[in-house]
């Protein structure tokens, strides 16, 4: 699967932007004062990872990466729901 020069450049630029988004979301994951803040950052991190994997499928021409994106989306949802449930039901009574 060969791409024209301009299309390749644009896709590589998109990958760079997704990398920057990963970095910013990770900064919120480190900083975020409360547990739900970190859960939101983790959720965004996995969503960006799904997008990054899909874009990388275009760059590499390998369809397998799309399957990776599917699995990542499934796992991310389960993880977020588990964290939310733990936060709501597992917190000590105040």
């Amino acid at each position: 699967m060969t791409m024209s020069g301009l299309a390749t450049e644009v896709v590589l630029l998109a990958l760079a932007m997704l990398g920057a988004a990963l970095f910013l979301a990770f900064a919120r994951l480190v900083r975020g004062p409360s547990l739900p803040d970190r859960v939101v950052a983790l959720d965004l991190l996995s969503t960006v990872a799904v997008g990054f994997t899909s874009a990388f499928a275009v760059v590499s021409g390998q369809l397998v990466y799309l399957d990776v994106a599917i699995v990542l989306a499934l796992i991310a949802f389960l993880g977020t729901v588990a964290f939310a449930r733990y936060t709501e039901k597992g917190s000590p009574p105040q």
């Binding site: 791409m3 301009l6 644009v10 998109a14 932007m17 960006v48 275009v58 994106a69 936060t87 709501e88």
Partner: protein
């Protein structure tokens, strides 16, 4: 030509995701951060997968991409609602510039169900620590 359109969709999707990440980093409290991340990131994933579909233009890729789009569009609001609900119960503070909190006093802390304030009278207020009526804006 089709590859260029697909690359354009990829770029727009990456732009939305970058904006979502900037919003998550810069917004003042959890709930505004969440509205930045959930909506923009979901739209970004949709655009990126649309770009992938246009780029490959085969049935196998289109099916998988549509599956991911449908799944993300269905699950992102559910996940966001669960985090927001949990955060509200735990008492994550609102931004000090918040104008209105329509849920205040409507949640029963024991059963985690909704009710009207009169119905819940005499029970501890759920969610946020009840701020003093006059000095609530400088917390």
């Amino acid at each position: 030509m089709m590859a260029l359109v697909g690359a354009g969709f990829l770029f727009v999707g990456a732009l939305f995701m970058l904006l979502a990440a900037v919003g998550v980093l810069r917004m003042p409290d959890l709930f505004t951060r969440m509205q930045a991340s959930t909506k923009a990131a979901t739209l970004g994933v949709g655009c990126i997968l649309l770009g992938v579909t246009l780029h490959f233009d085969t049935l196998a890729v289109t099916t998988r991409a549509l599956a991911v789009i449908a799944f993300v569009f269905l699950t992102a609001p559910v996940a966001a609602h669960m985090i927001a609900r949990a955060a509200y119960f735990v008492g994550v503070p609102l931004w000090e510039g918040t104008v209105i909190d329509e849920l205040r006093g409507h949640y029963n802390r024991e059963t985690h169900t909704l009710g009207s304030p009169s119905h819940l009278a005499g029970q501890p207020a759920a969610g946020h620590r009840e701020p003093e009526p006059d000095a609530s804006d400088n917390a």
